[in-house]
């Protein structure tokens, strides 16, 4: 495993018997270069295995063709779907992804942003919690940035978010239309803007009807917290009619806890989620949920940012909201015994 010294443009120039400038031209734009010399340069480059040093290039071109992606502590399928979407688009435009996940507080975000200076052309920042948000303002001054999710006043930022309020409201209407009145809501983590919006939506839905009550339980978007909260619920004097989980992962935990306790879903108790992660349709029973186009969100974010970087479409500081839709499966009690393929073709 001897490591040979990296080959520079100088080596290629020598090998092909031309100047540095010619090599650069032959390999890049190609303007004003004889077909013959281009060939010679190309084959020399191939033979030597030359690959340009991107750091050096970006120093002069001011471009890195790289997107910085800042994510909070994100788990499970939501995370991978989102990355998949971002990566797919980035690849299409020949952009790279510099990833920093698991950032929670403002200090960490600021540090991550700082350490990416000169490495990236712009940022995609996922749903910073309220505290971390300040760190971003300084960011926006020097880099194009796009916020994914979040619901604060995003004055200076372009953002793409999800219709969390509407989705939660729609779910509540669906539940009440099925006759559920005593509904438990499993909240997301404190300080998470999306979680807050979903809670607001649920409350709005509850207050639309007289007889509907909403019990709010704390959670953190992880399976474990859905499990734990449901265990708690199982010890209360009366069970609710339905559990509305602020995301699907918690619904997974909730269903597990109920199964374990011998409470049948949806006959005795309905369970619904939010996100429609891929696994949702494969749960037992298949999960009724609010569909969020996760991968598309990532794609759209990457696309908008890249287009802005290429001066195709400026990054206007307005918010774009992705629609959600209700996906009815068996877990809410609406379509017990329905074949899984009927609702989700």
């Amino acid at each position: 495993m001897t490591r040979t010294a990296p080959i520079t443009i100088r080596d290629v120039a020598r090998e092909a018997g031309v100047s540095l400038a010619t090599v650069s031209r032959a390999l890049n734009d190609g303007a004003y270069v004889t077909k013959e010399t281009r060939e010679r340069v190309r084959s020399a480059a191939d033979q030597l295995g030359y690959l340009p040093h991107i750091g050096a290039r970006s120093l002069i071109t001011k471009r890195t063709d790289t997107l910085g992606v800042l994510l909070p502590d994100l788990y499970g399928e939501f995370f991978s779907e989102l990355i998949r979407g971002i990566d797919r688009t980035a690849q299409r435009y020949h952009f790279h992804l510099l990833l920093a996940s698991s950032h929670s507080d403002a200090r960490e975000i600021a540090a991550a942003v700082g350490s990416m200076r000169g490495r990236v052309d712009g940022f995609i920042v996922m749903s910073p919690d309220t505290a971390a948000f300040a760190a971003l303002s300084t960011l926006a001054r020097s880099y194009p940035a796009l916020v994914l999710g979040g619901s604060q006043d995003l004055g200076a930022f372009a953002s793409i978010s999800v219709a969390n309020f509407d989705g939660a409201l729609a779910m509540m209407r669906h539940l009440t239309s099925l006759g559920h009145r005593d509904i438990a809501f499993l909240c997301g983590p404190d300080g998470n803007a999306e979680a807050a919006d979903r809670l607001r939506g649920a409350r709005a839905g509850a207050s639309e009807m007289q007889a509907v009550s909403l019990r709010e339980l704390s959670g953190d978007f992880r399976q474990d917290s859905g499990y734990a909260a449901t265990r708690l619920l199982l010890r209360s004097p009366t069970l609710p009619d339905a559990i509305f989980c602020a995301n699907d992962a918690m619904a997974v935990g909730a269903i597990a806890a109920l199964n374990e306790a011998g409470v049948s879903v949806p006959e005795e108790l309905a369970v619904v989620g939010f996100d429609d992660i891929p696994i949702a349709r494969y749960l037992s029973p298949p999960l009724t949920t609010i569909r969020v186009p996760i991968a598309e969100l990532g794609e759209r974010a990457a696309e908008r940012l890249i287009k802005a970087l290429q001066d195709v479409v400026p990054l206007e500081a307005h918010r774009e909201v992705a629609m959600t839709s209700l996906v009815v499966r068996a877990s809410c009690g609406a379509t017990v015994r329905a074949p899984i393929r009927r609702t989700v073709p």
Copy 2:
């Protein structure tokens, strides 16, 4: 959103009234700099919001403090757990992650590697399928690289892999010990080395006992293929005693198909998986599976690579194998009705 010109070391030098070299020294190592001047430089840098341009720095230091991560098309929780592990360690050592996912064939991998030259100090490459493997040999010549997974002859590479064969064998022994004889095996994708090893392990387990038969069904590690394969199985004249899925995601699909068809798991048919993704314990019934320490795998890979880059521990071209372990939950029929917390505290 006016974008101000980025601040260079030159600006800081002017502001602090010192030379470039002094600024560099004051901000980095700090050798031979008066406490007073350092203060002056620091405050000037802070005030201006100076952040060094990493590209320029790496040009001269030959370091980028960045790890290139090349992943195949990876789905769901396995993906996120792995990234989480890698990222956690990278962050601890102040390294960045340049991510390229969804690469399958050799050409794509080669392109990804090429486009990362000068951007990264080394590579973590996940389980390249057999065809893509050739692309890596050229890589190793110029960069330290570590292969995660895979089972080909990795002569030139340091690698970390999983005891896939042993795990599958252990699972087969467990199944037969429970009395299962007619076992269906849901294979992973063609050309995937890990999938091949798991299949070999299953075959070895089957051939250990006289009366055991193994039906092999094709799959691709995704939930859908587990669902589809099980549907197929449901149309066969006789059901097997157990379905052994080459990974947990397919087991999710399999259980869903069985539930939908009214076949009870594990009473009529056992289902087991491989990986122990976080959701496994929350399935209904909780999934018996082979535990793979996914996040730890990522951590270990990042750690070994970084240590090698820092010349602490050389990257020896030997393979390190992560142990697997059998996690018995309810889906295999061994512990029906057992509380979930008993097997997984």
